[in-house]
Symmetry: C2
Subunit: 275 residues, 2 copies
């Protein structure tokens, strides 16, 4: 049985409905730090096994959680556990900053960038580009049914990036107006598929059909070392409109052949040539 302070963090992770894979991994790292502050020795060792199982169980398809549990050593020494969990958080912050640097270099003066849903990594790229003095425009979707696109619109308003909001169904109409597409990712599978908010795949298809490059931005810890696209179980949150139940899978799968590159802190990964 895990200490109640750790249980509370796990519960928070399970309840989270807005923030994605980066946030949850950092929360998971906090859970390890909290545990290491409470237990040591054999008790810690036993609790670590349980905690790692629980963290993976929050979302078995989420690479960031899986990779976090692999990063943390199962040691009876609480200092080692704490240090590694803190290192994970530090590396995670550094990764986002570095993705901002690398990604912002893709943006040229006057570019039009189309995106879907709200990714804090994509926003970081926009922020760094603005700091570098670049002027560009963003086309973004409302992202029904939760409208997280409007949250991105607010952020862009705050940093002075001009933008246009479109309905999700217009991705095909507006893709051809973009210099390139840039989205976040919840997960990159071992076979290079981008798992991201439902609709991302449609954007990628429209980009492909119109010769517009499609990029995803993701910290390397979002790359799952084992899962293939077909094995990812996609979370669904049905809702009601009028008296109708609406199907609502959160993510879809964009195959690597439609991706020009995945912007990570290690550089831009490109699909193998034979694709």
């Amino acid at each position: 049985m895990l200490p109640s302070e750790v249980q509370a963090i796990l519960e928070e992770m399970r309840e989270e409905r807005v923030r994605g894979a980066s946030y949850l991994a950092k929360k998971g790292a906090e859970a390890y730090i909290t545990l290491a502050g409470l237990l040591s020795g054999d008790e810690l060792l036993e609790a670590l096994n349980e905690l790692s199982r629980e963290i993976k169980g929050v979302n078995p398809a989420m690479a960031s959680l899986y990779n976090l549990t692999r990063f943390i050593p199962h040691s009876p020494n609480s200092l080692i556990v704490k240090t590694k969990a803190e290192e994970f958080i530090k590396l995670s912050d550094e990764a986002k900053r570095e993705i901002g640097n690398i990604g912002s270099e893709l943006i040229d003066e006057g570019d039009v960038i189309i995106t879907h849903s709200f990714s804090s990594t994509v926003l970081e790229i926009f922020k760094v580009a603005i700091k570098k003095g670049k002027r560009f425009k963003v086309i973004l979707t409302e992202s029904a049914p939760d409208y997280e696109g409007l949250a991105l619109a607010k952020e862009l308003e705050a940093i002075g990036v001009p933008f246009e909001v479109i309905t999700d169904a217009q991705l095909g109409l507006f893709a051809k107006n973009a210099t390139f597409a840039l989205v976040g990712a919840d997960n990159i599978t071992q076979d290079g598929s981008v798992i991201n908010k439902a609709g991302t795949y449609l954007l990628a298809l429209a980009c492909h059909d119109n010769g517009v490059p499609f990029y995803a931005a993701a910290e390397s810890f979002k790359i799952h070392p084992e899962l293939e696209a077909g094995e990812v179980e996609i979370v669904e949150r049905k809702f009601k409109r009028n008296h109708f139940l609406i199907r609502n899978y959160l993510f879809d799968v964009t195959p690597w052949r439609y991706v020009r590159g995945i912007i990570t802190e290690l550089g831009i990964l490109v699909p193998p040539k034979e694709l």
Copy 2:
């Protein structure tokens, strides 16, 4: 100056926000009938010129209106005008019935058909298929921002067709579960493009990527004899969500290479082989 009874019909046509190309063409035919009941001789001839101009002006890109004005002879004989306008309405009703017959033959027992938005022609096909005793399932989109998909859901409920409603952004996820896709059309351009509710193009791309045949159903009077896809001016109706203005083009353009066939009352038109 057209008689006020005719002006009223034109005003109704301009104000229409839900129903599409078939409905507007029939309304236009009613305007001709009304005019022929009020005027004759040179007065009629002059008014016919004005009415044809006004009807085309309701939506210059709409083939059904353009073709209606070509169908009605500009004659001083009010009986000829009335008879031809009535014939247009009769042919239009017959066309829809015949499309129901032809289209329902595409549906096999146990099929899953994916559609987008609400087309009365597509609904007619479903109704005839049910009358023929076929059992099938429909996947349909909400069709934001006006949710006409929910109106289709109600109709399907009434005739006992099982269905699932999805958000527009999930078209890519659900297309691969379908036997085929079937949508209506507001317009078929001379180069074979299907102009239909925004999002249709995304559905066609997802179908293409997953080897799912994509069909459109349209009366032949929706085929524009002159306009090419690039010349169609797409109507936009922006709206506000929170304090953000949302872009909202009503239609998008699906190139003929993604269309398996266009179901008309004359048979199923297929794209030329070189596409």
